[in-house]
């Protein structure tokens, strides 16, 4: 498939009707997300990956123009990792454990916290985070008229590639913390960790999509994404470190516990398979709910000036 690297157009790239030439795509009906009729799952998936590759190749070309940002960004990553570990150290000056977790276990959790925060900054904030703006300006029209699913386009159009350093350094910190605990994870624990981490990404994505769908009702609130940041602060510590009522909220109402505590618990050998499967279930439920909310929100959308 041909690689599409184009001018880093803003959203006004309405001239670009189709990205992955050569993909077996039927001519889409205008003003509707494409639904390749008769195409099965493999074809749709391949098409989605092709579009994704086109999106991110364009982004990479754009970001490489600002290479000095890379060093600054790397410095920020290391600085904030250090600050996070020091924060934990302040608590551990006064106590042996936080909610039953030792220092290095909490550090392993902070690595996960940082990695998922990196995904948020690299993919979610620059994409879904702009929905409010798209709705207010009516530029969402341009996306709705493109031959890809609007949710897909709105979610993955941009990639702030430098922030992926947070993911790499965060996971590295978790691995380092593991070497400090005498509990090397077996293969099954690693598999379970990857499963819960994927579930965590899915839950974070669903939280953002759900939160941003409210933009269709509250058009004048431009910083809805900040609400996620406020919630995510609670992910810095294992949920067992909180008083019971807060723990209940974080497990059952806003699923923050499933984002950082559960993957870190799996990695340090605290979670069983039941927890991992529960995480996968929560992730699927969150994805379905957020998709429903998004569709309901889209039905409300009355376009520019509406």
């Amino acid at each position: 498939m041909e690689r599409w690297v184009g001018r880093p157009a803003g959203d006004a790239g309405a001239d670009r009707r189709q990205s992955g030439d050569g993909a077996p795509t039927p001519t889409p009906a205008p003003a509707r997300p494409a639904r390749p009729e008769g195409a099965g799952w493999p074809a749709r998936l391949r098409r989605a990956l092709g579009v994704l590759r086109a999106f991110w190749a364009a982004n990479l070309a754009e970001e490489l123009e600002y290479r000095a940002n890379f060093l600054a960004s790397l410095f920020a990553t290391i600085f904030w990792l250090g600050m996070a570990v020091l924060t934990a150290a302040v608590f551990f000056r006064q106590t042996e454990e936080l909610g039953g977790w030792g220092f290095w276990e909490v550090v392993a959790l902070l690595g996960v916290f940082n990695a998922i925060g990196g995904i948020v900054d690299a993919v979610l904030r620059p994409n879904i985070g702009r929905i409010v703006d798209l709705v207010r300006r009516g530029t969402l029209d341009l996306i709705l008229s493109k031959p890809v699913d609007a949710q897909f386009h709105v979610s993955f159009r941009r990639l702030v590639v430098w922030r992926l350093a947070d993911v790499a350094f965060g996971l590295a910190l978790s691995v380092f913390a593991l070497t400090r605990i005498d509990r090397a994870p077996g293969v099954d624990a690693v598999v379970a960790f990857l499963l819960t981490l994927a579930a965590a990404f899915a839950i974070v994505y669903a939280l953002w999509l759900g939160l941003m769908s409210f933009a269709f009702w509250f058009v004048d609130v431009e910083n809805l994404g900040i609400l996620f940041d406020a919630l995510y602060e609670a992910g810095r510590f294992p949920v067992s470190a909180y008083p019971a009522p807060i723990r209940f909220v974080l497990v059952y109402l806003v699923p923050i516990a499933w984002i950082t505590t559960v993957p870190a618990a799996t990695l340090t050998g605290r979670g069983g398979w039941a927890t991992s499967l529960a995480a996968a279930f929560v992730a699927v439920a969150a994805l379905v709910l957020s998709r429903l909310l998004w569709r309901a929100a889209l039905r409300r959308y009355t376009s520019a000036g509406g």
Binding site: A72, T87, D220, E222, I226, L227, E233, A241, P243
Partner: protein, 271 residues
Amino acid sequence: MTASLRAWARRYGALIRAGWLVDVQYRAAIVIWLILGVAQPAITLAVWWSVAGGGEVGGFGQADFARYFFAVMLIDQATLAWDIWYIDRWIREGELNFRLARPMNPLHEAIADNLAYKGKSVVLIALVWFLIAVFWPAVRLPFDPGRLALAAIATTLAAAIRFLTSYVNGLLAFWTTRATAIAELHWGVSLFLAGRIAPLSLLPPAVASVAGVLWFPYMLAFPVEILTGTLTDADAILSGFGWQLVWLAAWTCAYLFVWTRGRRRYGAVGG
């Protein structure tokens, strides 16, 4: 003298009114920023609450932590300064131009905006604190007018210092495009040295004593400890006010220096 005083009062009246009206327009956004502002102290309090359990940690019981971090939320809003983000944009995008054309230093607009903003957020937090205190005895403060007055003075000085650090930091945009990155570093250090993660007495003594000669604790921890009654020793309070004045003077000098030098460098981008 009185005439010019009246002129200034009129100017500030107009500026504060303008700032107030802009904020009212963005009231929902402001509430969201407020939620982010209280999230960090609230979460930190929750963890310390569990750590303290039924006992004490470094002299702090559960109720002490609760009062401390409620005071942190209030004083943080009272001293909060967003100016770095505005000034950085003014300079980079040329929005400073028409402000320079006015017969008044843009500093006054920033001060007035701060007064208008804080009027709202402080009243809101104080109100919520009062309502919570009705149901939750742990966060009640004994009523003591003398201490409240001292806390008010310390908070005003703290707000002035924090405002100047933010404003000067913003003016660095005359020289660098990374003024906001510097602000992030400053914030990261202040998490510890201003007493946001823990009361300063729970930090390693060496760190606490370094903090004591810098401006960080005088922007937050010092007024907080007066308000909660942790700091009652007259000498300690006097020396705290002394340090506040020292740092206020130092940051004022820094402002004058950066403002005069920076304006000469300013190339008025945009339009």
